[in-house]
Amino acid sequence: MKRENKPQIPEQDISIVLCGEAGQGIQTVEELLTRILKLSGYYVFATKEYMSRVRGGSNSTQIRVSSKPIQAPVARIDVLIPLDREAIKHVSYYIDEHTIIIGDEEKLDTNKKVINVSFLKMAQEIGKAIYANIIAVGLLLGLLDGDIKIGKDFLTDYFTEKNKKEFVEDNIKALEKGYQEARRLIKENLLKSERLPKLKKSSKVKNNLLFNGAEAVGLGAIAGGCNFISSYPMSPSTGVLTFLAQHAHDFDIIAEQTEDEISAINMAIGAWYTGARAMVTTSGGGFALMTEGLSLAGMIETPVVIHLAQRPAPSTGLPTRTEQGDLLFVLYAGHGEFPRIILAPATIEDAYYLTQKAFNWADKFQIPVIILTDQYTMDTYYNIKKLTIPKEEINNFIIKTDSDYHRYNLKIKDGISPRGIPGFGEGLVRVDSDEHDEMGLITEDMDIRKRMVEKRNAKWYPLKKEILPPTLAGAKDYRILLVGWGSTFNIIKEAMERLDRPDIALLHFQQLYPISEESIVFLDRAEQVISIENNYSGQFSRLLEAETGISVGTKILKYNGLPFYADELAREIDDILKEVAQK
């Protein structure tokens, strides 16, 4: 995408970027700062990009702070804190004349103007080099007029459990020192910039929640009654496994790390067979190994929930980057023909509610439900409002069997034969990956085969009745319709808002399959459809075109491993619209 730096509208937030090596503690700065700022009354947004390595390299976190809800990254840095020599180079693309760089001048090697703050020396004065990060937190807090009292309390809570009193006190000192340093810089007028709006705090924000997509999926799983997770670690999906493992005791979850992804999916299916609610979490390559199991679930009509956090592929690709490149694979994965549902959370809230829904739908329809997220979703968070706890008890649709129980009862019209589980009732529960009769025994009767195919696929009808319609944001009376899916929602929305036009709207999909028939109505009303996807070939546009017969005019595609940026995307849409206007 091309580079242009004129902001269309004055920025209403501050974009802070921290950049340094893996292992330098950027995560800690990010975590503390965002939480303290939120508690201080700001809206915050944070996302990160990092290399596939444990130490070294160049990683960065972007934190946006605002008086209004803010939920997307931008290609702009207002304040940069470079933590190592490589940092400035690493993010140079995003630096412009308005960017304020604050750092240890000595340790940086740049011809750009740097406001010198000797984090390290200051830390050593307190006692240890590691306090440098907290000084940075303090500095940024001061710079943004955060609440130092809240900061101190937070730090005390944060460090107390595991550390000595002295260490806690030193950290508080460091915070204070950083804060004072910021005051000094402000006073000395060193921080003036055309692009640092004055932010207002609000007490409404205090009770907002702050957690990333990985946690949201994990929390959603708990809300969906998940009590079994079997998975194999794979970036960027491992966070969900870790989350559920961490809370296994409180929520009665068996969390098993398997020898491979094949075992993971087969265990999960085995768990559902007993009546448990199981999920797997993986990325594209791991999912590839699960496709045989997916087809098994389709055949034996055992529910299963699969979380797939996408990363750039093919193959190993870029393990810690983002992409929306696995949609069509997921849609048709597994040999043979059987129903499935594909969900793609558009927001953190979605990640919570849709994961919950995934479990309920899987059980209700006895089918696989796939939750398609990506690295961007996993590693991003921003203020969200209170979430609801499911009111009713889980309905797992399981029946107590009687002695002539037939697992695959063909008399049920909608294809959903009541599901029994072994040991619950008098009946036997037989499931079979071969084509089977109503009892679940192998058959080669061609008539039964035909009816079983029809039975399995009959489920499309009831599940289609519950399809989630796409979300329409922006002008009701649009002429131009942007189309997106999954994690790009807030980014496209901000981009659209930046354009500030009365004739533009965004149609965004959280359920990718089956697609709501209403889509046609929405698409039909548009003069121009622009689809926006984080992949090379415009997979969703292709699907949408195939399903609706309506052609998508223009595609904006990004496939370099990074998410879209709201400002950059706004410029790109604007360019397209201008081009069209000229014609």
Partner: protein
């Protein structure tokens, strides 16, 4: 004993060749279940795909007839989720040692209370006679035209090397002994391997009933608790011992080690959702 309970599934007849060793194993299993007074509803047989893997089709018990090579992971999960069930994983040598080899290793590591029955006919029966991981060097088939060139796997030695808590071999031609071994395997608390020599009368013209008779003998005077001795017995090749090679009754099972299943909290599957906990978990995220 529930002598009246029949474990025979009487609707469809076994699709095996007449004279196949699988009939004997099927019979042995019916006998074992009866002798152990099991209830059909509380037995689950998880199988893969192959001739051997069809066995649960012909039994009156719960069945999870899954994917080729993949019986062990669901079996492990089933037992973990509902430990009241008697769980058996069953399949052929190709199924369990070929396609499913990785699960063989890692299930042993977990030690779930699952009985692992492998019908070892040293050939791929269902797909019509290719070599299996236990076929001997030189064994000719339509695919191995010059004879097998890879060493056969020794599942007994391998299971011992992985510290499996029960490792046995049986020969189905000796049905009484086979019944005895399978019974002990089911009674063993933990992972129990029974590698069952099973003649394939159609494709394996080398390892016939006669061959197994001539080449096996019942392991005697053997200390099943000595792992090194067990290994040495397992590597015998002149005549192949059948019986229990190794047993470790002390080893805790997967279910026992899973803290979540701990007693006192009640039936895992019927525990209510911890809504309060979820509420707290969300609350924490305000900070």
């Amino acid at each position: 004993m529930n002598k009246t309970i029949s474990f025979e599934q009487q609707i469809v007849k076994p699709a095996w060749c007449p004279g196949c060793g699988n009939f004997l194993i099927l019979k042995a299993l019916q006998q074992v279940f009866t002798e152990l007074s099991l209830l059909p509803q509380e037995v689950v047989i998880v199988s893969g795909i192959g001739q051997a893997a069809k066995t649960p089709q012909y039994l009156n018990v719960n069945m999870f007839n899954g994917l080729h090579g993949r019986a062990l992971p669901p079996a492990t999960a089933i037992k973990a989720c509902n430990s009241k069930l008697t769980v058996i994983a069953e399949g052929g040598d190709g199924d369990m040692y070929g396609e499913g080899g990785n699960h063989f290793i890692h299930t042993i590591r977990r030690n779930p209370d699952v009985t692992h029955l492998v019908h070892n006919n040293m050939v791929y029966g269902l797909t019509k006679g290719q070599a299996s991981p236990t076929s001997d060097i030189g064994y000719k088939t339509p695919v191995q035209v010059d004879g097998v060139i890879s060493d056969p796997i020794n599942p007994i030695a391998m299971a011992i090397s992985l510290g499996a808590s029960f490792v046995a071999r049986a020969y189905c031609g000796d049905i009484e002994h086979t019944i005895e071994i399978i019974k002990k395997a089911i009674q063993h608390r933990g992972y129990a391997l029974v590698d069952i020599f099973q003649p394939c009368v159609t494709f394996n013209k080398v390892n016939t009933f006669q061959w197994f008779k001539d080449n096996t003998y019942i392991l005697q005077d053997h200390d099943v608790h000595d792992i090194n001795k067990a290994f040495i017995r397992a590597t015998e090749r002149d005549r192949l011992p059948v019986g229990i090679f190794y047993q470790n009754e002390q080893k805790e099972t997967f279910e026992q080690r899973l803290k979540v299943l701990e007693e006192g909290k009640g039936d895992f599957l019927f525990r209510a959702m911890n809504k309060k906990g979820l509420e707290e978990l969300l609350k924490v995220r305000e900070y």
